[in-house]
Amino acid sequence: MSVHRSRKPEPTGLCIETRTEPTGMAENTLVRLMQWNLHDIIRLYIDQMEGCAYRMKANVIRYVITCLMLLAMAFLISSPALAETEFTHSFEGPDAAEAPLVPLTLEAAEVQPLDLDHLVKGKQLKLEHLNADNTEYSDSSIHAVVTHDVVQFKDKKGKQKLNCYIVRVTIADPTQLRSAMSYDDYDNTKRVKAAEMAKAANAVAAVNGDFFKYFHDSGYIVRQGTFYRDKSNGQRDVLLIDSNGDFHVVYRADSDSIQKAVDALPEGVTLINSFNLGPVLIENGEVKDISQSAVALAKKGGDQFQYPYRMQRVAIVQLGKLQYAIVECNGKADASSGMSVQVFAEYIKDLFPDAQIAYNLDGGGSTNVIFPKNAKGKIKFERIHKNPDSREISDIIYFASTEE
């Protein structure tokens, strides 16, 4: 005779075990029940307890798994928009393979320093020092390389693919890092194409400065060792470049903090150039939180430089002793493409993890990076990337050659 077993739960959650048999066997069942001894009853009790314990244990296990999964959700499901920005590079250039890019080297050579006077320019460039692709200029005093990077990344607005240009420069003497202003005149407010200024200065590489002539009522201006004005208002980070070619930054600079920074320069070292835009993007390899920077805390409008927008951006970076980089990212004036200042800072960090100082310059339509080009046997100065909405500007930072 076969006996079918089944378990049925009680409303309380405890279980009882019953034995059922095919219809018509009731009599036999009664006989069998009567034959049960104490052993059978104990066995039934143990079975019940085991079943309940098993069920309770299984329930607990499932709840534990649920909790673990919820915990995993909290760690693993990050919002795509909040995901850390990852850059995928596609480099083109003489020695570019992959990020991080390495600073250029220059064979040690005795060079004749250039005079500080802003009317003194770099030495005439020579075609033989320019490579066939117009991406590298190298002589005994300067080594400059242009790298094109098609970078893919994701920011808060989604994925982007942008053209970026990186100019790495190594110079032999700090006097080769210079600035120039339109018409070489502080008081002349006329603006000039950056390429014109670069041509006049014989620049191996040039980048727009801080557009200090746009407003005459702000900023701490020193150019080529000459002090012009101190109207700093604590709303911008200031970049100071000393006579060793080293960068120093003053956050939310006012007159006192700048003076302190100047006073803190090593003995015999003087201030050569200062720039008033910013913010500081990187200091000693650490990316700055732009949401807490001078631009973010400034009054909405002019001094914010549209820092959260996607825009063209440009920065100057000190990589090491007399080693620098200019980094430019493409973009559109309508903010539909480009980088926010924060993303730009992260991009530079990705390119140069050990950057000492990276300082944001005037982006948007002011973005100009100039590199010489061989145009039918003549040196021509052109913007590396031709932003369609580029404007004329008032000053450049440039690197000059000292080789006669």
């Binding site: 739960p9 959650g13 069920r55 299984a58 329930n59 499932r62 709840y63 798994i65 649920t66 999964m69 919820l70 915990l71 959700m73 909290a74 760690f75 693993l76 499901i77 990050s78 919002s79 795509p80 928009a81 909040l82 995901a83 994701k154 808060k156 607005k157 989604g158 909405k300 959260p308 927008y309 996607r310 903010a335 926010s340």
Partner: protein, 328 residues
């Protein structure tokens, strides 16, 4: 590895849903192990299915990235309808394992699922998503001033600052303006409907779940059209709206199949025509919003949304007619 605010929010929303289901399950006399089975299956299935649907909707991109991208949860996103499919499967599995009614289980799940959705949707704001038009587009343009009129709004407010903050709007950091907090509206609407549903008298098994899904679909159609963030589109059409239409059509079929009394063919045809017309009206409203219908360009945004609301109510009513009959 660090805690992700988005993930924490979603986990919290899921936990609330599980607790609510435990309460519902107790009230409706489900077996004790029901809650644990439901929880342990619903979480992975809803995550995986929502990701799967997202990958399917972006199939070319998915194929380009390779299958491993499926598990890159930080890249791309998830689709709500996939999560609902996961929960549906989980409910079916739980019903089978515990030997209980699938339809009853879906009914018990309705309120918890809506609450989870309502709370979870707000996480979009953490992600910088789920926002709509700038509030200026609605209030600071005078529709009756011919010089200012841009066909955007009937309303004009000199000062819209009252609306510049939660719960009405969120600040768009990119442009410094204020945009409607649509994710919050969706969440609030889902919670309100969850409350209504909770108070609704019990009907035939499965009815509550059908009505929940219908309202949710109509809500999605309306609210998705308000969103202006990085939501998934096929051309100009929002994917969620298409999925909503498909689900609504499926609901109508289910309702018609569940009818206990024979119904005339003409009635069935009328129900389908009604559903299709309401969907058509949604499309018209959507194209009007996108300014794709040139001769209707003059209709302000408010007018387009009014039309959209009418169309969405009609969508629900189309299903509701059949829904009521299957209950009779």
């Amino acid at each position: 590895m660090q805690l992700q605010p988005y993930g924490v929010w979603l986990a919290a929303a899921s936990l609330i849903g599980i607790l609510l289901f435990a309460v519902q399950s107790g009230k409706q006399g489900f077996k004790k192990e029901t809650v644990s089975w439901m929880a342990v299956t619903a979480i992975p299935l809803s995550v995986l299915f929502s990701r799967l649907l997202y990958c399917l909707c972006r199939l070319p991109w998915f194929l380009e990235q390779g299958p491993v991208w499926f598990f890159h949860f930080t890249d791309g996103g998830f689709m709500m309808f996939g999560a609902f499919a996961g929960i549906l499967l989980s409910a079916w599995l739980t019903a089978k394992i515990t030997g209980q009614s699938f339809a009853r289980m879906l009914d018990a799940l309705s309120v918890p699922a809506l609450v989870t959705y309502g709370v979870g949707r707000i996480a979009d704001l953490i992600a910088g998503q789920g926002y709509g038009w700038p509030i200026d587009d609605w209030f600071s343009v005078d529709a009756f001033d011919p010089e200012e009129y841009t066909g955007m709004s009937f309303f004009h407010l000199e000062d819209a600052s009252f609306f510049e903050g939660l719960p009405f709007s969120v600040e768009d950091a990119y442009y410094g303006n204020y945009r409607w907090a649509v994710a919050l509206f969706i969440g609030a609407a889902a919670l309100v409907f969850a409350f209504v549903l909770w108070r609704m008298r019990t009907r035939r098994d499965g009815s509550r779940a059908i009505m929940t899904t219908a309202v949710l679909c109509a809500l999605t159609v309306l609210m998705e059209s308000m969103r202006q963030d990085d939501l998934m589109r096929w051309g100009v059409v929002r994917v969620s709206q298409i999925l909503s239409a498909v689900v609504l059509a499926a609901l109508l079929v289910i309702c018609q199949l569940r009818m206990q009394r024979p119904v005339k063919k003409s009635v069935i045809i009328v129900e389908w025509i009604s559903l299709l017309l309401s969907m058509g009206l949604v499309m018209v409203a959507e194209f009007m919003l996108e300014k794709k219908i040139v001769f209707l360009d003059f209709v302000p945004m408010d007018g387009c949304y009014l039309l959209m609301i009418i169309a969405c109510v009609w969508l629900v009513l189309s299903v509701r007619t059949a829904w009521k009959k299957q209950d009779a």
